[in-house]
């Protein structure tokens, strides 16, 4: 459709500039994590260290309970993701399959929790978790995050896109709602569920603030929390090691995204968000 493609070059320059701004910090993080202290301060801008070293990573492995951190983070992220997927599917199904009074009101009520800021709920939830004796445990982090208002919205949305005749055919076979959900609906909305799960996982993996409140003892830390150890008051720091830990924190979500990229993009582009 576009006739003058040779005039597009200035748009490309603008966008490439944006891409550089977005990606350069990450590449910088990558290269710094492989530099020695000297290299960091002397050839700061050099993207390719002359002799990339893995000293920083070795230090991290030896002196930090890295495996423990990874396990903590993985446990919390996976549990939250699984819980949110299940509760969202169940609730979304209820809204699509059943009719009851105040259905819309309940739906809106659940959806609105999405807009409640964390600072409103954090203190009472903290006190509650504390009373349950779950401070400093991963379950204290997981428990308040078993459901997600946006997840319910997305699942209801995808299920609504299934043509009604498919569900009605199931009912004519006298299939129970559970069977209709698991045998008919789920296989059809698999892409949306997976895309949603990936987003939940990445967000939980990266979560900092709520774990900050609950996890006080170092061994219970998640990877993002471990980063706070590298911020010293004077501003000087073991930057190479900090970058190494940062890389390890950033890598799993990034890899997850890169491998499922097309998939996520397509699901996003299809469903969109229309208010």
């Amino acid at each position: 459709m576009k006739i003058n493609s040779y005039r597009d070059w200035y748009w490309h320059i603008l966008l490439l500039f944006a891409v550089v701004i977005q990606l350069w910090p990450l590449l910088f993080m990558l290269s710094t994590s492989f530099k020695t202290m000297d290299q960091i301060f002397l050839s700061t801008l050099n993207p390719l260290p002359a002799k990339p070293v893995i000293d920083n990573y070795l230090y991290v492995l030896k002196n930090l309970p890295l495996i423990q951190y990874i396990v903590n983070t993985l446990l919390i992220a996976s549990s939250i993701t699984l819980a949110k997927i299940i509760t969202s599917i169940l609730a979304g199904f209820a809204f699509v399959y059943y009719d009851f009074s105040h259905k819309e009101k309940l739906f809106n009520t659940l959806l609105l929790t999405f807009f409640i800021p964390i600072t409103v709920v954090m203190m009472p939830n903290y006190l509650f978790i504390s009373k349950l004796g779950l401070l400093n445990t991963p379950w204290g982090v997981i428990l308040p995050q078993l459901a997600d208002g946006m997840g319910i919205f997305l699942m209801r949305q995808s299920m609504r896109n299934i043509p009604k005749p498919l569900l009605e055919a199931g009912r004519l076979e006298n299939a129970s709602p559970w069977v209709i959900l698991t045998r008919i609906i789920l296989p059809l909305i698999k892409p949306s569920v997976i895309a949603m799960g990936i987003v939940f996982f990445i967000n939980s993996w990266n979560d900092y603030f709520w774990p900050l409140l609950i996890l006080h003892d170092k061994p219970t830390y998640t990877l993002p929390l471990a980063l706070q150890m590298f911020i010293s008051a004077e501003g000087g720091s073991e930057w190479g090691i900090a970058m190494a830990v940062a890389m390890l924190t950033a890598l799993p979500p990034l890899l997850l995204y890169l491998t499922c990229q097309r998939f996520i993009m397509n699901t996003f582009m299809q469903s969109g968000v229309k208010g």
């Binding site: 459709m1 006739i3 003058n4 493609s5």
Partner: protein
């Protein structure tokens, strides 16, 4: 002159050629139809004129200027899209006047043009409505209105009637010709419906698989199709194409020997294998028939009947249109036709072999 000239224009998407070596001249102020089956390249050709598609090779000239790289907005074209392309968030008035405001035409002029156009298309009073409140036919007229007020020298239409039901289409066809007569822009109209093409067009360009088959007036196309494709595309029911061979001074069709005029013998001899084209309405019953066959099926079409014949000897099909007031024939039937109605096509290539059709005597009908 303000005509449009295609010089060896080609369009490909990667490896696939969609328009092949198009050479065509569209006269200023004429109504030209681009007609053909789906995928023949007619819409792509139209969009190349509009500037919405890049031209892969060749030159496109409009008004004497080469326009290959000119922006669509600079070509002074009004276009009616197949799905009308009305802006859903604007009122009808805003939709129609959008382009005029962009061009910074004075507001009184805009008002005058719009009100006139609305009246011509019977849309007065609908100005404040939104597109989703209108029916298909009304939306189509709004799209026409929008193009009309632009008063551009080029008026392109991409299958504008295909989303209307049959009744509306009839009406709309006459409206389109009326609109053209208002200020005589160069009209280029894409359609796959041959009735539309024949009734609206002053000249028709028939395309197939990216290549121009024939460009001429409806009459000529109907009487003298350039090749077998055009012959079978135009006309409902389509022209009969019968396989024939010319041997020993006579033409053999379906095992029957028929005698074409002597003037034609040399020409026919050059081709040996032939397709003989004769339209169903040009066949008639005869006592001294040229061809005969078994009646398979009779279609009742109101004022006429269409007889499906299976010719004896080699089983080719022949369609014959008879007036409905004649008795319905049964069993075997004999058919004759006049040589002045016959078109001959080469058996291998399909091109019309240009039989001279002015002959002194005619057979049967």
């Amino acid at each position: 002159m303000n005509g449009i000239i295609f010089e060896n224009v080609c369009k490909s998407y990667g490896e696939t050629a969609v328009v092949k070596d198009l050479n065509m001249t569209i006269q200023e102020g004429e109504r030209l139809i681009l007609l053909g089956p789906s995928g023949c390249g007619k819409t792509t050709t139209l969009r190349m004129v509009a500037g919405l598609e890049n031209i892969t090779a060749g030159t496109l000239k409009m008004g004497g200027q080469v326009v290959n790289t000119v922006e669509p907005g600079a070509r002074n074209i009004a276009m009616v899209f197949q799905n009308y392309a009305l802006y859903p968030h604007m009122t009808i008035w805003e939709n129609i006047t959008f382009g005029l405001f962009i061009q910074k035409i004075p507001i009184e002029e805009i008002k005058a043009r719009t009100e006139q156009a609305l009246e011509i298309l019977n849309l007065s009073g609908y100005e404040q409505r939104k597109p989703n409140e209108l029916s298909g036919g009304q939306k189509q007229r709004v799209a026409l209105c929008r193009s009309l007020v632009k008063q551009a020298p080029y008026f392109l239409l991409d299958e504008p009637l295909s989303n209307l039901d049959a009744q509306l289409r009839l009406q709309a066809r006459t409206e389109l010709v009326k609109i053209h007569n208002l200020y005589r822009p160069t009209f280029i109209y894409v359609t796959h419906d041959q009735v539309e093409a024949m009734t609206v067009g002053q000249r028709i360009a028939i395309m197939n698989q990216g290549a121009l088959q024939q460009l001429d007036t409806p009459d000529v196309i109907y009487q003298h199709p350039a090749n077998t494709f055009v012959a079978s595309f135009i006309g409902s029911p389509p022209m009969n194409l019968l396989q024939g061979a010319f041997r020993d001074g006579a033409l053999w069709i379906a095992g029957c020997r028929v005698n074409p005029p002597t003037k034609w013998h040399t020409l026919l001899a050059e081709h040996q294998e032939l397709w003989i084209g004769i339209r169903p309405e040009q066949c008639c019953l005869s006592d001294a028939p040229m061809l005969h066959g078994q009646i398979e099926f009779v279609e009742h079409l109101g004022s006429q009947r269409c007889i499906h014949l299976r010719l004896h000897q080699d089983g080719q099909r022949l369609l014959c249109m008879l007036p409905a007031d004649q008795p319905i024939p049964t069993g075997t039937m004999g058919v004759s036709f006049s040589w002045q109605h016959v078109n001959g096509f080469d058996g291998h290539v399909g091109q019309n072999i240009e039989l001279p059709n002015r002959i002194s005597h005619n057979y049967a009908c």
